[in-house]
Structures are given as structure tokens and as C-alpha cells.
């Protein structure tokens, strides 16, 4: 199920405590999932789906998950056990080199 994302939008997982904020949104709808199930709007009722095999791995608070080709970037604001994926493809943690403190 593809959904249209908007920068600043908040989403929650249907399988665990994971919550994300959309940092960069692709122009087209994407099939964004957590633990193999589509993400829900942040204000949706918590769902109790279980993680689909192969979509474990978890999310980490404060990490950014991205697909540069799609132009998609998410920030994890609450961690969970399921992995984030677009369709079947699991998103990698954006490995930006930390910058020295400047202010």
C-alpha cells in the first residue's frame, strides 16, 4: 500500500513502538513499512500486528533511515524491533560522518 509522504509528517509502526518523522519526502507515494506492515499515521490507534519474517532488525532512536534514489529520509523518534522498508527493501541507516560541534 503506497502512501503519499510529506516532510514533517509523523508516522507510527503497526507492529511495535517505532515512530518516525519524515525528513525528506519523495514526490510519489511509497510503500513504506515497519516490520513488514504499512506505517500508520501518528494519531492512529495502536495496532497489534506481528513482525513479518525477514523484517526484524529494529530501529534506533535518533538514527536517520534513507533511500537516496527515492529521495526519502526518515528520523526515528521512538525505537522498535521491526525494520523499516520500502516494499521488500530494508532501508539502511544514513551513515553521515558527524560534524564537529559549532555552536
Amino acid at each position: 500500500m503506497a502512501i503519499q509522504l510529506k516532510a514533517g509528517a509523523r508516522l507510527r509502526s503497526a507492529v511495535d513502538a517505532c515512530e518516525v518523522v519524515v525528513v525528506k519526502a519523495p514526490a510519489d507515494p511509497v510503500d513504506l513499512r515497519c516490520g513488514g506492515h504499512p506505517f500508520l499515521p501518528a494519531d492512529a490507534e495502536p495496532a497489534s500486528e506481528t513482525i513479518v519474517d525477514g523484517f526484524e532488525g529494529g530501529t534506533q532512536l535518533g538514527k536517520r533511515y534513507s533511500d537516496d534514489e527515492l529521495g526519502l529520509e526518515l528520523l526515528c523518534t521512538k525505537a522498535g524491533e521491526g525494520a523499516i522498508s520500502v516494499g521488500e527493501t530494508i532501508l539502511a541507516v544514513k551513515g553521515a560522518k558527524p560534524l564537529p560541534a559549532s555552536d
Partner: protein, 494 residues
Amino acid sequence: MLLEMAAEGDPDRVVLGSHDAGITASDLLERSRRAAIYFEKSGAEVVGYFGLNEDTLPVALFGAALAGIPFAPLNYRAPDEQLRGILGRVAGGIMIADDQEVDRLNGIGATNVLTKAEFAAAIAEPVTGEHPFVDPEEIAVLLFTSGTTSEPKAAILRPRHLVSYIISSVEFLGCEPTEAQLICVPSYHIAGIAAVLSSLYAGRRIMYLPAFEAGSWVQLAADEHVTHAMVVPTMLGRILNAIEETNTELPSLRHLSYGGGRMPLELVERTLTDMPHIDLVNAYGLTETSSTIAMLTPDEHREAFASEDPVIRARLGSVGRPLPALEVEVRDIDDAPVAPGEKGEIWVRGEQVAGEYVGNNVLTDDGWFRTRDAGSFDEHGFLYVDGRLDDVIVRGAENISPGEIEEVLMLHTAVAEAAVIGIPDAEWGEAVAAVVVLHPNGEVTEVDLQVWVKERLRSTKMPGVVAFRDELPYSPTGKLLRRVLRDELSASGS
């Protein structure tokens, strides 16, 4: 959102104040929630902050953010006349102020002024419930810039700008629990706000020095095992002197960032020589860009300092390279990008760039912000900043509009014409200098005019030098040629 994440990630970490008695992340979140509810109930349209840096500041900042109300830290050093105008623009709000400022504020038309103690009492009771995350499109912070005219502009920063800046430049809880940041830049300066956000997100404990004084800075840094600090040029020289005079060792200190104005090269070299173990970062940024847009890193400082190649060595005077999440260009007067080595105006584009004032968004249609700073890139992408195109004088980290001082000078009966310019100064980066033309029978001394300005504005705006001329240089179109005066006064050293 940033605060909630910090409280979720490590709730018991002390984020504010001394290591033993400070406020934890979950504590700060709780206080901010109480503040948010208090602000909402008060019906305030804006939360003003008028006073020195203290632990109240982050509580008010995050409380206002949670409530979706703009936070406006005001310049408590501004003269009454200017403040009166600013207060008119934050009417309908409440103002949290230092005790000794309350009478002054009430006297110039402020309403709903609250002392820090009264504010603390108002948020003493626990509250229940959670606030939703801040709407990224609300106004988070209003900062009054000195602007190119004397009328300050209210720069708008929205949560999406500040959050973009933080998450693209700071690693979440990326620092060790022992790290502590000493903040001595005032809250009405963008660096004072950005420092709160980036320290909190990095997990670095914030220590406030309410008013800068070099001796207290060194003492606090030693007592609190401060590891990180941001200073403006004027502070650094005094800190180095104080360290030398008191023979204090600061074994914990390992990172100093500086910015806010041109740093004299001799000071950078002295720091690298005196304290070679310290990581230096030169940060260049503007209020309208949510703080830093380019930086010279510690490694780049050391490489430049050690190099005999003049091109690499010169980088010590650069602001380094743009942050990866941003685009920066130098353009000519036709807005076309120029080649490396050529001078022009610095333009910037990116998610953190707000480029907006109350009632006036100045971003181009495709998102570029013109900084009004003059500069150039070298062939390796290092950016050099020459100063404000608009001739604003940057003394220490304070922006001073020449127009305001010129007006005051012209009020003097002996003065026919006046021009105020910034001239290079080893201590302040730039010093205020005035050039005046007297009326035919006018008689006045340099000291007379210095006192005249000081009495009407404030001491930082008093010209250190007043030169007398028979006429001022103007262009054929009647524009005052400040550059000519600047060159004359800089060359003569008077």
C-alpha cells in the same frame, strides 16, 4: 521533538547545570510541559525573554515550542527607545525578565512582565498528559536582528528550519556523558539558541555563564570540567589572557568553536600555539540560516597552521567549507555564480535556511537566500567572508548600524555631516569610527562627540575615533563612499 527524543534516549542524563545538582533530560521535559500549559492558559501570543542566560531559558524556549507559541529573546542591552518599538511588536505576549529589569520594562510599555521566580512558581505544579510534537510550520523563534537600517527586523525561524539544522549536523546522543558545554553567548543571538538545541540533541550538558567575564569563564570551565565552548572573537583574547594571568589549567577543555564576527588571525595562531590539544572550529552562519552554514574543522585548522604553502596557510582566515546539507554560492551583482578567487555576494540554499522576517519572506522562488555578506571561494572550496555588504559594523559579535549613530551625531548643532564606519580592530574585530564635517562656525571636540553618542545610545556605539574633514566623499549618484573613508582611517591608524 528534539527534547522528547533526548528524554526518551537517556532520561536520567544531566543536561543542564552542574553535574551533581543539574536538571536531567526528563526533568527538563517535565518543566517544559508545565511551562507549555502555563503559556497556553495565559493566552499569550508570544513568549518574550529579557535577561541573562540561566536555566530558565531552555524551559521557556521548549515550553513555548510545545505550546506552539513564538519565543522571542530580546536584547536587554538595547536602549529604551529601540526597545519600546520592539515591545510594540511582541505585544499580546508575556515577558520573562530578570528582577532588576522589571521596572525598566514596565516603564517603557511592557505588559505581563513576570520575574524568573514568578515564572518558576507558576510552573511548580505537576501536569498530566502529553503535548503533540511541535507543528513544523509554526513560528518557533523570533530574533530581532540589527538589520541594515536602524529599525530591527524580526527574523522568523520555524521548527522545520531548526530541526533540519540539528538533525543534519548533530549526531543524536553522539557525545560522552562527561561532555559539558559552556554557553556565554546571549540568548538573543542565534548562537545562544542553537547551542541549547545542539547540546541537548548531542547529549552534552549545558553550563551557563550568565554574563561574560573572562575570569569567571575560566573559573567555571575549570570547576565544571567544561569540554566544549563557543566564543566570539572578543571573548577568546580575554580568555587566553585570563588563563595566562591566573595560570589556570583547563585539562578538560578540548573543543572551542568561534564565530559571530571576524576573528583576528593572530588570535587563532596564538590559540593553536598556546593550546595545541584543543580542537578549534570556525563557524560561519547567520540568524536567518539557523546558525552555522560553513565551518573550518579542527583538522583543517591544524593542517593550515602547519603548512608553509601560502594557499593552505591562508585557510586559517577562512570559514572553511559549507555544511554537506547545504548549497553555497558566491555570485556577482547580476546574481550569476563567480569563479573561485573572485569576490561576490554569498548565497545559500537548504532546509535550515529560513530567510524570512515578519511579513516578508526574502527567499528567491527557488529557495536561495542572499546573505548580504561579501566573500569568495578558493579553488578547494574554502569560503572567505569579507564582511557585510551593507556596512553594518560588527563589533565583537554585536551588529551596529552606522545609520543610527550618524543620526545622533547630526543632532549635534556643530555637526553638518557625519559618516560612521567600521575599521579593523585587534580586540573587537571592528571598531566604530566616525568622520564628521562641521558647520562653518561649529566647534566641538572628539571627546564632546564621543560623550554625545554615549549618552544617547550606549557605550558600545560610541566611536573610538572621531576624525574631522572638510567634506565627505560621495559617488556621482550621491552615495556616501564609506569604503574610501574606511581605507583612509585604516591606513592612518587614527
